[in-house]
């Protein structure tokens, strides 16, 4: 069926089977391959995107369910090539290694910090506890989000 979804500020159309996940629609139909698929059943969080302001797992949603919604993917965070505060803080903090989980963490943390700009370490740990990273042991990711929150508050 033909669908139109607002993605990163633009109306994007596609023709999809009803069974196609939002993750596959973003990756295969729109070539937005920054959204990664790690487990396909909502456990790892690599496919997290922001849908109408909330972090959601795009592998657990069908593309047709996103009709009428506003989706932001990792590609929508720094469209002009300038890193945002969170991305910059994560770079400064050596947050990641292989990078496969990265878009999911960045989107999850972006949605969380937007809603909770005053969050401390414990809240950030809670908020990211549904995302899996196999490389880093998480500490550097928490460091990056904390640094971003701190910089945001200083601005």
């Amino acid at each position: 069926m033909d669908i139109t979804v607002q993605v990163n500020g633009a109306a994007r159309t596609g023709s999809v089977e009803a069974r196609k996940t939002l993750a596959d629609f973003l990756r295969d139909d729109l070539d937005l391959t920054g959204t990664h698929v790690g487990c396909e059943h909502g456990v790892c969080g690599a496919c997290t995107v922001i849908l109408d302001g909330r972090a959601v797992r795009s592998c657990l949603m069908l593309a047709v369910q996103a009709v009428g919604s506003e989706v932001t993917t990792i590609e929508g965070l720094a469209p002009d090539g300038e890193l945002g505060t969170l991305q910059q803080a994560m770079w400064d903090s050596h947050s990641f290694q292989c990078g496969f989980c990265t878009p999911g963490f960045v989107m999850q943390a972006t949605a969380f910090l937007t809603a909770h700009p005053d969050a401390g370490e414990q809240e950030i740990r809670e908020a990211l506890s549904g995302n899996i990273c196999r490389c880093t042991g998480y500490q550097s990711i928490i460091d990056g989000v904390l640094l971003a929150a701190q910089r945001d508050r200083q601005d």
Binding site: R27, D31, T35, G38, D92, H94, Q97, C98, V106, C135
Partner: protein, 705 residues
């Protein structure tokens, strides 16, 4: 984190050059690739752990619109060369030779064993096609434990072998084992099991194979730790000349030992592309990854320890059994390394070691983060148990037994010199950081309140690269190669066979070369992931930092000497008086003379110099590991055990490691922390458990720490 150091990049936590692309969704992983005319593969897998394949009916799948081909085990057997796992074969793969085909034909040997591959216009259609394939199986009794596999009555998993022994029993002795045990004050006996667990990188296996019939070249976009090992593996099993296989790799979503060489599914996809003359893509999904990609470390150890009444560990006698799973990959090869490493940094004077490796109806035993690491677990566990039995402090027992740092170096009883080992220092450091006496007081207080706190210590040495010794005349890890070039735009380009998958080589190797050659960090490029371009290499076995870091250093030095020789003509000065500073060639002490390296390179490329002037700014460098040496460290965990539920909470974890000079401290810390997290997960949360029928418990869950 420190910013780029003013004087030297090496030793500073330089920000990773990989990160801008990774943080913006600009990484290029194999699943992201689309080629014109590309087809998609999905596998039909056995639901049984052990069974006979009586019939495979693929007609309905072949008739499904969008399905381009169905290749059964028999179809693939006709177009591939049977034999061992290519990596196993390249590493020498001895022992009994089980006979099997690429995909299952007459027998399935674990739940998840691939039986057929469906190739279709989309992955969804390929999976629909799999659903339409009917396989008629006859159950065979599964062999689900090493103990049963050792039983002569267990059904042979491979028909051409009379039993399930893949690594026949062998025994070695170092020192006077009988005499040591006879003279010991005490002999203690322990049984230690290491459970099966697995790599589970965030990205599973995957490839896009693209065969061009006109040129006969098979191009494979792979997720691999070595483009060359994968190239050679595909050539070996597809019967193609190795120079007709080109392997490319982009970003890789972790591996931890999983993605080396060419697995059965990857070979089947490559063969399908050749058969169809079109690109074929296969991206492993998570349930396939958990069931079929491979698992690690199911080993058991019966240990006898000879000790003096004062706590001197005099000798060990170890009997090891390895559960290699169904299709041998490397399970039969680890025992030799474990044997060599078992003494660790200790004075152990006698070691008896015997091992047997058996086949079972489980996923194959594969490499995972130091496949030999059970040597550390077994040795350190034995020391803790001995401390308990003898009523000694575990730290004191270790310090008492650590080999002294002497000249000439103390020799491990298994043969290698303990050069530069700092076990005593790292043990003392973690003990200080934790304040063990204070912990013991708190532990006693909490125990009185009904809380159960515990402390664990362990120490290890790692052959990274290992010492130079008589046994390894070509260097501790063989040779590492690199090609380096100064391009006409002034960029120093490093071509390496390393295939980073999280280790940050594009940053760390550039730091070393920038310092040594004399250019800003941003003026170095590290090229990886194209078997037509990079020299042979492999990211694995703890070799990259020392071996590739070493060749980057020596290569940059060679390239600089070449550039300065040429510049001496331009600048009418002796090369000995020239240096490269911040990207400019200068006469020492005369900054006004500076010429940018790009200008020097352009002049060299201008063709205006005679044949007797070397204007080729490219070098082939090699490094043999020099004198080598050991890395190592000590770890300490404080945990609380809920004695009602058995739940273990890690309260504190402290590590002190000696890696020599750090290239990039933030990268090193990231590696250590990530390893600790996986270790905790492996021990407490991630057992790959099978039920008695041979199904993996808990599929398709992907819960990992």
């Amino acid at each position: 984190m420190a910013q780029i150091a003013a004087e030297r990049y090496t030793g500073a936590s330089v920000k990773r050059s990989e990160d801008p692309r990774i943080l913006t969704g600009g990484g290029h992983y194999v699943a992201d690739l689309k080629l014109p005319g590309m087809l998609h593969a999905a596998f039909v897998r056995s639901p049984l752990a052990h069974g006979r394949v009586l019939a495979v009916d693929v007609e309905a799948a072949r008739a499904l619109p969008g399905v381009v081909a169905v290749l059964t085990g028999a179809d693939l057997a006709a177009v591939t060369i049977p034999g061992q796992d290519p990596l196993f074969a390249m590493m020498g793969g001895g022992g009994p030779q089980p006979e099997y085909s690429l995909l299952a034909t007459d027998r399935v040997r674990f739940a998840g064993d691939p039986v057929a591959v469906v190739v279709a216009e989309s992955r969804d259609i390929a999976e629909d096609g799999c659903e339409l394939i009917e396989v008629d199986y006859e159950d065979l009794p599964p062999v689900m434990s090493a103990a049963f596999a050792l039983d002569a009555g267990s059904p042979p998993i491979f028909a051409n072998l009379g039993d399930n022994i893949l690594g026949p029993h062998k025994r070695s002795e170092f020192g006077d084992v009988d005499g040591t045990f006879a003279a010991a004050d005490h002999v203690h006996e322990f049984h230690i099991d290491v459970h099966r667990h697995q790599n589970v990188p965030m990205e599973g296996r995957g490839l896009v194979a693209s065969y061009d019939a006109d040129s006969g070249v098979l191009t494979v976009h792979a997720a691999t730790q070595s483009v060359h090992v994968t190239r050679m593996g595909i050539a070996m099993r597809l019967g193609i000349d190795a120079d007709k296989v080109r392997v490319l790799a982009g970003d890789i979503g972790g591996s931890f030992g999983l993605k080396i060489g060419a697995s059965r599914e990857e070979l089947a996809v490559a063969a399908a592309s050749r058969a169809l003359g079109r690109p074929v893509k296969w991206i492993e999904d998570r349930s396939e990854n958990l069931a079929a990609s491979g698992q690690a470390r199911e080993e058991s150890f019966d240990v006898r320890a000879a000790v003096s009444k004062d706590g001197d560990l005099l000798g060990l006698d170890v009997r090891m059994v390895i559960d290699t799973g169904a299709y041998p990959v490397m399970g039969t090869m680890v025992s030799g390394i474990i044997e060599a490493m078992l003494p660790g940094p200790y004075k152990l004077a006698a070691l008896g070691f015997e091992s047997t490796a058996v086949a079972t109806n489980k996923a194959s035993y594969i490499a995972y983060r130091g496949p030999w690491a059970s040597e550390t677990f077994v040795r350190e566990r034995v020391l803790d148990l001995l401390a308990k039995d003898l009523g000694l402090d575990p730290l004191e027992l270790r310090l008492r037994n650590v080999a002294p740092r002497t000249t000439p170096p103390f020799m491990m009883i298994t043969g290698r010199p303990l050069v530069g080992v700092t076990t005593k220092e790292s043990l003392e450091r973690v003990a200080r950081m934790v304040d063990i006496p204070a912990f013991r007081r708190r532990q006693a207080e909490e125990r009185a309140r009904g809380r159960y706190l515990g402390i664990g210590l362990a120490t290890f040495i790692e052959a990274a690269p290992g010492p130079r010794s008589g046994e390894a005349p070509s260097g501790p890890m063989g040779m590492e190669h690199m090609r380096l070039r100064l391009a006409e735009d002034g960029i120093v380009v490093l071509f390496t066979g390393q295939m980073p998958h999280g280790q940050s080589h594009q940053t760390t190797l550039a730091q070393i070369a920038a310092d040594e050659f004399g250019v800003p960090f941003e003026q170095v490029r590290v090229v990886v992931g194209d078997s037509d371009v990079v020299p042979f290499g492999l990211t694995g076995g703890s070799r990259s930092a020392t071996m590739t870091g070493g060749v980057a250093l020596h290569g940059a030095r060679q390239l600089k000497a070449k550039v300065l020789d040429f510049a001496s003509l331009l600048m009418e000065a002796s090369a000995l008086d020239l240096d490269i500073v911040d990207g400019e060639v200068v006469v020492r002490g005369d900054p006004d003379t500076a010429i940018g390296v790009a200008e020097v390179a352009r002049r060299a490329a201008s063709g205006q110099f005679g044949a007797d002037v070397d204007t080729n700014f490219e070098v082939q460098a090699s490094f043999d590991g020099g004198e080598g040496g050991w890395s190592g460290g000590s770890h300490c965990a404080i945990v609380e055990v809920d004695v009602e539920t058995g739940i273990v909470k890690v309260e504190r974890y402290v590590a002190a490691e000696d890696c020599g000079a750090l290239i990039n401290p933030a990268v090193v810390e990231g590696q250590i922390r990530g390893g600790i997290a996986q270790g905790i997960g492996a021990v407490l949360l991630e057992r790959s458990a099978y039920d008695l029928d041979g199904h993996v418990h808990g599929l398709p869950a992907a819960d990992r720490l």
